[in-house]
């Protein structure tokens, strides 16, 4: 499944002498990528949770787990389809909106996408076998057809992030007179940004999918559906996300230091640091006005300590960037605030995971504290916001470059046609498809609730589904 490899826009960046197509092209890429990136965690990580539930049923005969796995695979089927086609649009857009990038650098930039294509193939094939194989395949072989889905999700993520990392840290090619004359494929793939960006995104996918799905069941628990089905539906995805969270914070810290080392311009924007210096404070929040960050909360020496473990660590400021490619104030503000938002949410989710784990450790059960459940219910949306924010940091933080140091975004954009028209049509269709996706998932949920009520209702049976349904489910899955 295709992942984030793009541009984001929120207004006119380089107002003067900017090609007229740049703004609509950026907006369109932002819209379609922002849409697609929501579906990515479901293709990549949700399938893993589905397999956990499936495994639990196979090993322990847990009928609730089976029901979850079957329902989740129905949800995955819908979201995978929308993700597949919205990813295809991104492929078209690379050529339709950014011919300057593809025509000049396709020979290098394209290689990771070729590998991603291979993984997408495997994922599409096995996801179909898994989703449609419930009734007629034997349980264990059926389970194993789900494993390639999870693995190719990981592989696909790594491939697309390799392409994105390459835009931030281009490597593995030789340019002569502006033409790519030689390519070192491994150099392209394993560019300097590859590992930290890839791990960061992969973990983000597991967090978003985990917290979002757990949130749905937390909402159910809050509404009084306190049966085992809902507890398990919360416990499985939440556990995955809660394990991923501390690892993510560690990886994020490593990534931030790598950006400090390798991408000084982006780091200066993240810190909103006008001048190069030592003893740089970490400023939380704030707005860039006339080249200075105002109204933020200052932590003395913070940025220097975090970057190099010493107050005397020297950090390059925005002044070190040549004036003609220096990001304007409002862009710096955007990157800086997006970074703070991402980190803030990350720590909030860490606290939530920890309090949940503490409660579990003491009571060996899914907590019933309403405030904790409310927090879980909104945790998925927060994780999604953090994902978007992180993507803004990477992509807006790269501007005005598309391929850092080699290709300006204004030289990558198409110079023909009317992108506003294309953008408008896309907006309408995506709005309809987005709303329809939501409604279709709600429809599924309501149908399942009606089924439960018709069958005597799990809501009345605190610790398990009705006997009849449990055995029927076991039979039909066998």
């Amino acid at each position: 499944m295709s992942l984030a490899a793009g541009w984001l826009s929120a207004g006119q960046f380089w107002a003067a002498d900017e090609p007229s197509q740049l703004l609509p092209a950026r907006e369109q890429m932002a819209l379609t990528l922002g849409f697609h990136i929501v579906l990515v965690p479901f293709g990549v990580a949700f399938t893993f949770m589905m397999l956990i539930a499936n495994y639990r049923w196979l090993r322990r005969g847990d009928a609730d787990a089976l029901l979850l796995a079957r329902r989740w695979s129905q949800v995955a089927a819908v979201l995978f389809a929308v993700g597949a086609v919205s990813g295809t649009v991104l492929s078209f857009e690379l050529g339709l909106l950014w011919p300057g990038l593809m025509g000049r650098f396709g020979a290098a930039y394209g290689i990771p996408f070729a590998i991603e294509g291979l993984f997408f193939f495997l994922e599409a094939i096995f996801v179909a076998i898994y989703i449609f194989g419930w009734d007629r395949m034997r349980p264990w072989p059926h389970f194993w057809t789900g494993v390639p889905v999870v693995l190719s999700g990981v592989g696909g993520t790594l491939s697309v992030i390799a392409a994105n990392g390459w835009m931030n840290q281009p490597a593995g090619f030789t340019l002569r007179d502006g033409v790519v004359v030689d390519v070192r494929p491994l150099g392209v793939i394993f560019n300097r940004a590859f590992w930290y960006e890839a791990m960061h995104m992969l973990l983000a996918a597991y967090m978003v999918a985990g917290f979002l799905v757990a949130g749905v069941y937390a909402a159910g628990l809050l509404k009084g559906r306190r049966d085992r089905h809902h507890r398990l539906g919360l416990a499985i995805p939440f556990s995955v996300a809660a394990v991923a969270t501390p690892v993510q914070i560690f990886v994020g810290d490593v990534a931030a230091r790598a950006v400090f080392e390798n991408e000084p311009a982006k780091f200066a924007a993240i810190e909103a640091l006008p001048r190069t210096g030592t003893h740089v404070p970490e400023i939380l929040g704030g707005v860039m006005i006339d080249g200075r960050l105002r109204y933020g909360i200052e932590i003395p020496n913070g940025a220097s300590l975090l970057s190099g473990f010493s107050p005397s660590t020297r950090i390059r400021g925005l002044e070190a960037i040549p004036a003609q490619v220096r990001p304007p104030d409002h862009l710096v503000t955007m990157v800086h605030l997006a970074f703070d938002l991402m980190v803030g949410i990350g720590f909030a989710l860490l606290a939530l995971s920890a309090s949940f784990a503490w409660s579990w450790w003491r009571r060996r059960a899914v907590p019933e504290n309403r405030w904790l459940l409310r927090a879980v219910a909104i945790s998925g949306v927060l994780a999604l916001i953090a994902l978007w924010a992180g993507w803004v940091v990477t992509e807006v933080g790269r501007q005005p470059w598309t391929v850092v140091g080699y290709l300006l975004t204004r030289d990558a954009v198409t110079t023909t046609g009317n992108v506003w028209l294309f953008f408008t049509a896309t907006m309408v269709i995506y709005a309809v498809v987005g709303v329809a996706t939501f409604l279709v998932l709600r429809l599924l949920q309501q149908r399942w609730q009606r089924q439960e009520e018709a069958e005597g209702g799990d809501a009345d049976v605190p610790y398990g589904p009705s006997r009849a349904r449990g055995s029927a489910a076991t039979r039909s899955g066998a």
């Binding site: 089927a77 819908v78 389809a81 929308v82 597949a84 086609v85 990813g87 295809t88 649009v89 492929s91 078209f92 857009e93 690379l94 050529g95 339709l96 011919p99 593809m102 025509g103 000049r104 396709g106 020979a107 290098a108 930039y109 394209g110 290689i111 996408f113 070729a114 590998i115 991603e116 294509g117 291979l118 193939f121 495997l122 599409a124 094939i125 996801v127 179909a128 076998i129 449609f132 194989g133 009734d135 007629r136 790519v180 004359v181 030689d182 390519v183 494929p185 198409t414 110079t415 023909t416 046609g417 294309f422 049509a425 896309t426 269709i429 498809v433 996706t437 279709v440 599924l444 149908r447």
Partner: protein, 331 residues
């Protein structure tokens, strides 16, 4: 090695034409199946047949795009900056079609099914039309090497319109034949007859359009015309014979033979196009070696494609086998 990359790319085009084409064609029959009551059974068969395979078949398109922009970047940019109207519409058509299909599997109320079903079916006809028009624009040499060709006449010309119409018809023909086989597998004699009748009609219509197309190409794309009747002649004749044989045998023949003939007819005509314009990438100009990426890129692609061959082909065979044996049906 640049020729090898071009062959791999073209193999992807052929695979997408057949596998993706049959899926688009199923949408054509869905669209023309009549009202909710009359069309219920054919639509149900289409739904059950398409659901497990369409996404895997769709990936061939991604394969083609990725191969094209990596192995022949300038050609990709030339095509997208010229044919952006039909390509943009095809991209949006793909979104509507895929989502519409996935939604229809979930909703159960007839009025809701009608809306999402119509979205799926209509975009299943529109999308191959635009892709066919793109092929026609390329084949008739209307995409300049440096791109930014005429945004309108590059796809509103006679060859493009022929390509679009032929694509829709060929998809519908393939789908009808595949659905005949699927109806037989499910022991549904009514539906078998339903699709056999329609396959005959569409095969005849395709034949007529092809005959008319000869005149169109002669007038509008003489170089393509000469290529097809020169180097490509064997393939064109083979395609015609397969199509004709399928048409004649349609009322009775075994489904496997029909499928073979239908696939062969489509493969041969697409191959004919490739052979006719070889070694040009953009119809009449820009040779494979002129447009090719550096050698290391091409080798990397060859390795990835070989890995794909080793992994994807058996997986796909598994998917199709499971489907043929009914392992992916609902209980």
């Amino acid at each position: 090695v640049s020729t090898l990359a071009a062959v791999l790319l073209f193999a992807g085009v052929v695979a997408y034409a057949v596998l993706g084409g049959a899926d688009f064609g199923a949408g054509f029959w869905d669209l023309t199946a009549g009202g909710a009551e009359a069309g219920r059974r054919p639509r149900h068969l289409i739904d059950a047949t398409l659901a497990p395979v369409w996404e895997a078949n769709h990936v061939w398109l991604i394969f083609c795009l990725v191969m094209l922009w990596t192995a022949f970047p300038s050609v990709f940019a030339a095509i997208t900056t010229t044919l952006y109207v039909p390509l943009g519409l095809a991209a949006l058509g793909i979104v509507v079609r895929g989502s519409g299909f996935a939604f229809r599997k979930v909703v159960v109320r007839t009025d809701q099914q009608r809306v999402v079903g119509a979205a799926f079916a209509a975009s299943s006809v529109i999308t191959p039309f635009f892709l066919g028009a793109v092929a026609g624009g390329i084949a008739s040499g209307r995409v300049p090497a440096r791109g930014y060709g005429d945004p309108l006449t590059s796809w509103t010309n006679p060859t493009s319109l022929l390509g679009g119409v032929l694509a829709v018809l060929a998809c519908a023909f393939l789908a009808a034949v595949f659905l005949v086989a699927e109806a037989i597998r499910r022991h549904d004699a009514d539906l078998e007859a339903w699709f056999r009748r329609r396959a005959v009609l569409i095969a005849a219509a395709t034949g007529i359009v092809v005959l008319a197309g000869i005149a169109v190409l002669h007038a509008d794309a003489p170089r393509l015309f000469n290529g097809l009747l020169g180097r490509g002649l064997v393939l064109v004749v083979a395609s015609g014979l397969c199509g004709l044989a399928a048409l004649v045998l349609l009322p009775r023949a075994a489904p496997h033979l029909l499928q073979l003939l239908a696939v062969a007819a489509v493969v041969a005509v697409v191959l004919g196009w490739g052979v006719a314009q070889y070694p040009n990438m953009l119809g009449t100009h820009t040779t494979i070696s002129q447009a090719a990426a550096p050698t290391a890129t091409l080798w990397a692609l060859t390795i990835v494609a070989t890995a794909a061959l080793l992994l994807v082909v058996p997986s796909m065979a598994l998917l199709f086998t499971l489907q043929q044996r009914g392992h992916l049906d609902h209980a």
